[in-house]
Symmetry: C2
Subunit: 347 residues, 2 copies
């Protein structure tokens, strides 16, 4: 063991539990120190964080829950935020990891993080692909799209597929995978720029700006005159209500996220659930963390698509930890175009 | 072919499309005549109707829909209501049916009905069981319970099962099948008499009167401290909202009916759908008409349970066609205790 090096470590701290719309002021950047060594005999790692992923589910962890969430612990006021990121191993006490290894997985929103359970991390093998992609298309967002479309919605050739928040980290991949499967794919997004991207960059068959529609039901009737087989729901709320009216018999709704609801003091009720019965619809939620055992199969397939140019990918990158709180909050006003991530360092 | 006999035929007619709460006055009894013979060369049947089934789904068919329902045509003002019943063949032009055969299936709310598609009817073989049971436990209600519990909810030993409208035609069978499967079963109903029946007659582990509960969420927490694996939903509305808060991870919600909503001008919205994601819940609607191919397997199993005394069954019988409109409307005020049916004739 070399002498213990101590370096400055800047961190993003949650100041207090959040209700309603979150703000940058609810987080602060604090300075601390990190040890770049592991205690003797311990199997922990120290990571240098390179890229941090901004994900909508993180909003839920900012609220205090009476019953703990079943998939991730709530953030603790005064402590560092935790999310997914791409990192480099700078100290290892674990036999499977060595100095310099690149990994992705759960890490702190800070420059350096001590990882007590290195088994939860994935090693990065495809360094011919931009490293940052492991915060998204080759990481959690990509796996979410893949599992939600195939394992949950059982997409098959000829299905009519609708994706909301379609230019986002997950939506852009869902749409492109569905096209590769032979589906007819329409996406909605919240700006003309994003809507345009869906058609020109991601190859969706059609797309619309939901903010410009007076009546979402009419819009969906226009884009799906024969109805929708699969709805990949990232937003919940009014769009879900309208989609239920436009589903086909034996349709499937993949419940991936409800970003329209996360910042409301009280969630809205969803009407039209009677359609689940009359049209024999399956509506199913999932959490990607349950499917990490399928990651390597997915990674191989997705890396192939990326290298063959069959899947395009758009990132929206913020530079530096100082801007991390604003980047995260921006998800909820739809500021980002494509996958939102933060660069802390490039190597 | 014998000479054509013509007999009086009294019929229940829908006077006009219904919005809001239906009333007896929306139907009327009219007198007509029926021919007790089939046209030469035609494969139709004439049925004498013995028992008519009152089912909540019939309310939906009283409303005019912009888009036709995918499983049954709306009722037509001025024409006879159509539902499920037990009947005797009194004239047959079809090679598979002869005079005197007993059948169950879709028929008119009238004394005699001409059936143009006899293939849709099931012959009744187990005459050692009360004939009226083929309007319920051995007919559509029983098959609904069976399919909803096994095919949709995938019930298995040890599951915590909650059933609403639990003393009704479907609920009482769901609960007893779940008990036979080794589940823990709690039911809700709308009167102390019904709640008592669940425990004393049908062997539910516990039951409660939802009308006496201030807070359905607290009630469910009390009856399911470890949460609910399967919710067999016959009611929708506030109970569904409360159940979502109490589901366990990987729970299943069988969407069978929404009787709390059928008579509202505008359905209520359902909150708490976010639980579908965080708890990976599958919520799935079904229509029993899709599963008639499984009827004979079901009939054999259910007839066995009935003859062995493993399943009990409670009917609520109204005598005579004159009282049929009141009997049907009574479903929506919870008047019936057990399966509601109307007797027109006994043979």
């Amino acid at each position: 063991m070399s002498a213990v090096a101590e370096v400055p470590n800047r961190r993003v701290i949650l100041k207090g539990h959040v209700t309603g719309f979150p703000s940058e002021d609810g987080m602060e950047i604090v300075s601390g120190m990190a040890h770049l060594a592991v205690p003797p005999g311990s199997a922990v790692l120290v990571l240098k964080n390179l890229y941090l992923s901004c994900d909508p589910y993180m909003r839920g962890l900012m609220t205090k829950h009476e019953r703990p969430s079943s998939y991730a612990p709530d953030f603790i006021p005064g402590e560092v935020l935790v999310g997914y990121g791409v990192s480099k191993v700078v100290a290892s006490g674990h036999p499977d990891f060595k100095f310099g290894d690149l990994v992705w997985g759960r890490t702190g929103w800070e420059e350096f993080t001590l990882i007590p359970n290195p088994e939860s991390l994935f090693k990065i093998n495809h360094t011919e692909i931009p490293l940052s992609y492991y915060t998204g298309v080759l990481g959690m967002s990509g796996l979410t799209a893949y599992i939600g479309l195939y394992d949950v919605a059982k997409a098959k050739k000829g299905d009519f597929v609708f994706v909301s928040a379609a230019s986002g980290a997950v939506g852009q991949i869902v749409g492109q995978l569905a096209k590769l499967t032979g589906c007819y794919v329409v996406g909605s997004a919240g700006s003309d720029e994003k809507v345009n991207l869906l058609k020109t960059k991601f190859g969706f068959d059609d797309s619309f700006n939901y903010k410009k529609e007076q009546d979402l039901n009419s819009a969906l009737q226009r884009y799906f005159p024969e109805g929708i087989d699969i709805y990949f729901d990232n937003v919940g709320g009014a769009m879900l209500e309208a989609v239920l009216l436009n589903m086909r018999v034996h349709g499937r709704i993949t419940m991936c996220g409800m970003i329209s609801q996360y910042n409301l003091e009280k969630h809205e009720g969803t009407r039209n659930l009677m359609n689940l019965i009359s049209k024999r619809i399956r509506m199913e939620g999932f959490v990607v963390f349950d499917y990490f055992s399928e990651y390597h199969k997915f990674e191989l397939e997705m890396a192939g698509y990326l290298m063959d140019g069959k899947i395009d990918y758009v990132e929206d990158i913020t530079e530096g930890l100082d801007k991390a709180p604003a980047a995260l909050i921006g998800l909820f006003t739809g500021c980002n175009v494509g996958k939102k991530l933060i660069t802390l360092a490039r190597e």
